[in-house]
């Protein structure tokens, strides 16, 4: 063992420590900005010293290609990461995550093509194959999630016999995997085929899933990539990859479960059941009609309220209304002394915490933002609730109507506020296709229009009072 062996491995050890410390710091809003910088420092150290890794036996050409690939991949991601709008963050996270999964699968492919994994024993081979599978699924699945969120794949579409195709693909993957494990030498065709089928499985698994289920899906593929990285770390004998990958795998799995729980569904239900795509019951029929109001009149009610609670949803992100909304809230707070709070449902938007990021971008301090459990007891004492672009997460049918597809999902209890105002683009139903009883309530007034425009009009209304 030369000196470099120790130097490189000590750098990996430091990286692992800094990752865990950094992630721990990211658990509180005050320390979080430092946390990512600690983790970034660990990453820089590990990557730098890998250039001196004695386990690398390649020629100068390999090193040259390494630098070129890092410049292209890193440079491209730097530019897109700096430019991307906050509303487009879910798809960027999905894309970067898919790249990590693809990289893990690529490591496995190189190992399995080169007999390396076949010499090191069954455990290494097994981990390499499993890592290849999870990495490839995460790669293609994340790319599909990205395309869907970008609007490049509009509708969730289901092919006939979806479940049969899923089961068939899994059977082929298992058979090919066992075949590879039984081989004593590398069979490139077999390995390639395995990878292609795993890639296809990721596509078939993700295409039927609708937009509102994306928080679960993105979080799940994040966990998948973590696990793939951990397994490949074992295959190539890199403890930093095992630790970092496993920490992310476990954290991501927990987050995925929390997201699914916030919709009162299981993860497998999200993946395989589809939602709002089946015919039949969409809940009880509604009697009554929606009562609409002009922004100017609504503004008057807000101005004379003591406390209001604002519930943002994906519609706010689509309309990019977060800045105008915050302007309106500032006028309410500063000139009319209204107590303003924001209530955020765990699965609002297209990834976990999506709304928090958008409000933070607009400048809303995080101590004005409340979780579901914190805010629900406060709705009855609020003078008004303002729903902006949210639908299913405020639908009282989830509490009352057993025939509704969303029955049992924890919701924000908006209906118990004194008055409810809903900013909505049109009269249609939400993502799930479920009719929202809230919109027909006696104390509910609808403000129809583009959310951004309505917020501007509300501010204008306040200024005229």
């Amino acid at each position: 063992m030369g000196a470099w062996y120790y130097i490189v491995n000590i750098s990996y050890f430091f990286a692992a420590v800094l990752f865990i410390y950094g992630l721990k710091q990211m658990g509180s809003p005050r320390t979080a900005p430092r946390g990512i910088k600690w983790a970034g420092g660990g990453m820089a150290v590990a990557v730098f010293f890998t250039f001196f890794q004695p386990a690398i036996h390649g020629a100068w050409l390999n090193y040259l290609l390494m630098v070129i690939a890092m410049a292209i991949g890193g440079g491209g991601a730097w530019i897109t990461g700096k430019r991307v709008q906050m509303t487009a963050m879910p798809q960027m996270v999905a894309l970067y995550n898919g790249m990590g999964g693809g990289a893990a699968a690529a490591i496995a492919l190189v190992e399995l093509y080169s007999h390396e994994a076949f010499i090191k024993g069954e455990a290494v081979l097994f981990m390499a194959v499993i890592g290849a599978l999870i990495g490839a699924v995460s790669f293609s699945g994340s790319l599909i999630a990205w395309a869907k969120l970008e609007g490049k794949l509009d509708k969730p579409f289901r092919v006939p016999f979806q479940q049969l195709i899923n089961i068939g693909l899994v059977a082929i993957i298992v058979a090919l995997g066992i075949w590879i494990l039984m081989s004593s030498l590398s069979a490139p065709i077999l390995v390639t085929l395995f990878f292609v089928v795993a890639f296809a499985f990721g596509i078939v698994l993700t295409t039927p899933i609708g937009g509102a289920d994306m928080p679960v899906v993105i979080s799940m593929y994040n966990a998948f990539t973590g696990l793939a990285v951990a397994f490949e770390g074992y295959a190539i004998g890199n403890p930093a990859m095992i630790i970092a990958g496993m920490v992310v795998g476990a954290a991501g799995s927990l987050l995925t479960w929390l997201m699914a729980k916030a919709m009162n569904r299981s993860v497998s239900n999200v993946l395989f059941a589809g939602f709002g795509t089946d015919d039949g019951s969409q809940g009880e029929a509604i009697e009554g009609e929606m009562k609409s109001v002009e922004p100017f009149d609504a503004a008057a009610s807000f101005a004379f309220a003591d406390s209001i609670i604002i519930v943002p949803g994906y519609g706010m992100a689509v309309a990019q209304a977060q800045h105008k909304l915050w302007e309106f809230c500032q006028i309410l707070k500063n000139e009319h002394h209204v107590d303003v709070k924001f209530a955020i449902h765990p699965v609002a938007g297209r990834m976990p915490g999506h709304m928090n990021v958008l409000l933070a971008e607009a400048g809303v301090p995080y101590d004005m933002i409340y979780d579901l459990e914190e805010i629900n007891p406060e709705f009855p004492s609020a003078d008004a609730a303002l729903v902006i672009g949210a639908n299913d997460v405020v639908n009282p049918a989830a509490n009352t109507d057993e025939s509704s597809p969303i029955y049992g999902m924890p919701i924000l209890d908006v209906a118990s506020a004194q008055e409810v105002y809903v900013i909505k683009r049109g009269r249609g139903t939400g993502f799930s296709g479920v009719v929202n009883h809230l919109f027909f309530g006696d104390n509910t007034r609808m403000i129809f229009g583009d959310a951004k425009q309505v917020c501007s009009d509300l501010s204008a209304g306040l200024n005229e009072i």
């Binding site: 970034g40 990557v47 890794q53 990461g81 906050m86 970067y96 893990a104 994040n222 990859m241 976990p352």
Partner: protein
């Protein structure tokens, strides 16, 4: 080289660490934490570099190259977007 049961213990302890880290995190930080953990699994770059470094022949080198490229994208993109998001969070006292 890490062998057999030692590896199993590493896997187990790391899994509990991950579980503990995210267990009590407020919803407000779910997005940055997810993109932060997305950045952390970018450590796959280190493995991709070793794979490309030892690759022989056209196909291995090509796949190794693509691996490093993707991993570098994961690391850089993950860091940039997380840093941007966390920089925006502030409290009313700030």
């Amino acid at each position: 080289m890490i062998t057999g049961f030692v590896a199993l213990y590493i896997f187990m302890l790391a899994a509990f660490t991950g579980y503990e880290i995210i267990g009590r995190v407020p919803t407000i930080l779910h997005t940055p934490l997810m993109s932060g953990s997305n950045f952390v699994h970018g450590i796959v770059l280190v493995g991709s570099m070793v794979a490309l470094g030892n690759a022989n022949g056209f196909w291995q080198i090509l796949i190794g190259f693509v691996g490093v490229l993707l991993a570098a994208g994961n690391v850089t993109g993950g860091f940039v977007v997380t840093d941007r998001m966390l920089g925006m969070f502030k409290s009313s006292e700030d």
